[in-house]
Amino acid sequence: MRKFSVLITLLIATFLIATTINVLVWDDAHTEAVKSLIKVFEKETGIKVNFEMLPSRSVLEKTAIGVSSQKTDYDLVAIDEPFIPQFSDLLLPYDEWPEGSKYKKPSLKVVLPEAFRAAEWKGVIRGLPINGNVYVWMARKDLIEKYQDEFKKEYGYDLGFPDTFDQLIDMAKFFTKKGIYGFGPFTIKSEGATCEAIFMFESFGTSVLELKDGKYKVVLDKEKAVKAIEFYKELLKYSPPGATAYGHSERIAAFNQGKIFTMFQWPAIIPSHENPDESLVAGKILYGPPPAGPEKRVAIRGCWILAIPKASKNKKAAAEFAYWWASKEMGKKLVKAGMTPVREDLLLDPELRSEKPWFVAIFQSMKYAVARPRFEKYPEVSDVIQRYWISAVTGQITPEEAIDKMVEEIKNVLRKYGY
């Protein structure tokens, strides 16, 4: 009898206690803004949210530790897109996400379809992209205006936003003569270098890794890859001193100090270029998609994906939260805090266009989006690419040697994991 009443009490209690979900995301102004608005969500849905924010590297570590196929500490996690292949088996496919009761489940029409590809692995979409992070190209409006005539006299065409790689080199060379540097590379050991490498390789027409019939093959075309390296080395000549150790901090600072004419940038960083407290060139920047390489125009993509672990016991609540976060109303509020939208309606919103001129550029760039190599053991491949790319462009080894070694070591990695 006693056991029975305890059981009844427990059942009643479970119904009365609100659902609580645990969310793990990265930490920046965007997520801080989400956190500040959570009370609204909690009131409207009765779902309590434990919103944990961590530095992005730590998010990956904690996800790996806390999420398994049987147990999970989190109902909703943010996963950086290169790691989707690795975690894909643990994540609920987007098709199976429950429909939202209060908020609508975004479809491929609302969120840019190329962004959804970031969440895709082996044909299945594994989550909801929550920001539109893709290479955007920047160029100094004021410098273009100032040197229009001089440039035209020397090169014969109008100085403007660089549209092709050839124009990029011409303009970089021109400006370096003027004491401003033409280009801002990315050369320190980190993911950013892999992005630049893939950007260059793809622009010259070659990919690194391809999945065919369940087997991975290294498909790097040596000739094109070497050309890509040579081109980047040329660009480095027109970069500021210290450009051989340029990471995010250094590039941002150099551009903000007005020392660089043109370079790529991640949209999430652009607010700092437009902030007068940080940048001498705020308001003087033009945005657009990256210049086209000899073979094609590409832009590297790096979205954060919201994913629901299969082992979660609160999938419906987690999905509801994700839809709320991804809704247009939330989007409008979050954009003010620095969020990079991934919804077409926000990116093309005329109200936002004057404040955020780069949104249109994001929309354009997304059309040319490519991903870094998709592979379950991506980090090891990325490290190989970084290492040899940087050694080659900084002149420590020859481009041919770099490509040979890169291919050889990537093949070793494939072999190690049975491909």
Binding site: L60, E61, A64, I65, S68, S69, Q86, F87, D89, L90, T187, I188, K189, S190, P240, P241, G242, T244, A245, S249, E250, A253, A254, E376, K377, P379, E380, D383, R387, I390, S391, T394, Q396
Partner: protein
């Protein structure tokens, strides 16, 4: 008046009174660590990818064999040992010299001593970050000073040798006050009259230092070295934030390589095996230092 270990009981076995002193520590450390240490050993005998559970399998000593064959491991080990052999003696010498200098009362001594420890207190990540800023050509304060003095600015962190030097300098800067503090505390335990008597006997400063102070301080110095080496073998945040192990693998110390295998490649088994190897190396170094300078007997 004697130094060296003084022992009371000579009965074999552990006297019940000793237990009173030993038990709290044993329980606290044991409780928290027995499972993790055993688990780490256990993991090292497995192929254990953190994320894919199906691929886990027992491979006995294969991880260790692979470590032996891994060029990157040996390179990382070489870098780590080099780091210790260069940075720590310099920290010791600077710390010792400054401790000798401070070994008297002077105005603001306490305040200055506490301020001197700030580099040790600073968050490791912030220390590495600040050095990265300072070493930047064009903007870094250090390079700015160098250029004002007429020298050419260098891109420290792009050159393998310079980057390695930079992380060593960072550690020396950060940790010599640690050595200083321990040696200073040790100096305060040396009876003043001992030094006075030696002075009266006509002993010169150099003799006083080498014949009296250093021998008396041997155990203290040994402990400082021991603790510093054990920690330096696991140094991580400062170096990682400065170079991430780059350029190339020029600053990929063993501790960084272990992290990379564990949390970038998620090969937990391999990483644990390397951790065990690192632990054994630490143990050998510890035994070497202790047996020469210390009587735990």
């Amino acid at each position: 008046m004697s130094s060296g270990s003084m022992v009371i009981k000579r009965k074999p076995g552990v006297a019940p009174q000793a237990l009173y002193f030993l038990v709290p520590a044993i329980i606290l450390v044991g409780f928290v660590l027995i499972f993790p240490i055993i688990f780490a050993f256990f993991l090292s005998t497995f192929k254990w990818p953190l994320v894919e559970t199906e691929n886990r399998q027992f491979i006995f000593v294969d991880n260790y064999i692979n470590i032996f064959k891994d060029k990157e491991f040996w390179h990382a080990l070489y870098l780590q040992i080099g780091f210790i052999l260069i940075a720590i003696p310099i920290e010791l010498v600077i710390g010792f010299s400054v401790a000798l200098l401070f070994n008297r009362s002077f105005p603001f001594a306490t305040l200055i001593r506490s301020l001197l420890l700030l580099p040790v207190f600073v968050l490791p990540v912030l220390s590495g970050l600040t050095w990265r800023l300072m070493l930047q050509p064009e903007y870094g304060p250090l390079n700015y000073l160098i250029s004002k003095l007429g020298f050419k600015q260098l891109t420290w962190l792009a050159d393998p040798k310079l980057a390695y030097t930079a992380i060593i300098i960072q550690d020396i800067w950060r940790m010599w006050p640690f050595m200083f503090m321990i040696i200073y505390a040790g100096l305060t335990t040396i009876p003043k009259d001992l030094i006075e008597a030696a002075k009266l006997d006509g002993a010169r400063f150099r003799d006083r230092v080498f014949k009296i102070i250093i021998p008396l301080l041997k155990p203290t110095i040994a402990t400082a070295l021991l603790l510093r080496i054990i920690d330096a073998l696991r140094i991580f945040s400062e170096v990682f934030i400065m170079t991430e192990g780059g350029p190339g693998n020029a600053t990929t110390l063993l501790s960084i390589y272990i992290y990379r295998q564990a949390f970038r490649y998620f090969n937990m088994g391999y990483s644990s095996a390397m951790a065990i190897v690192l632990m054994l190396i630490s143990l050998i170094i510890a035994l070497a230092i202790v047996s020469k300078n210390f009587e735990v007997e």
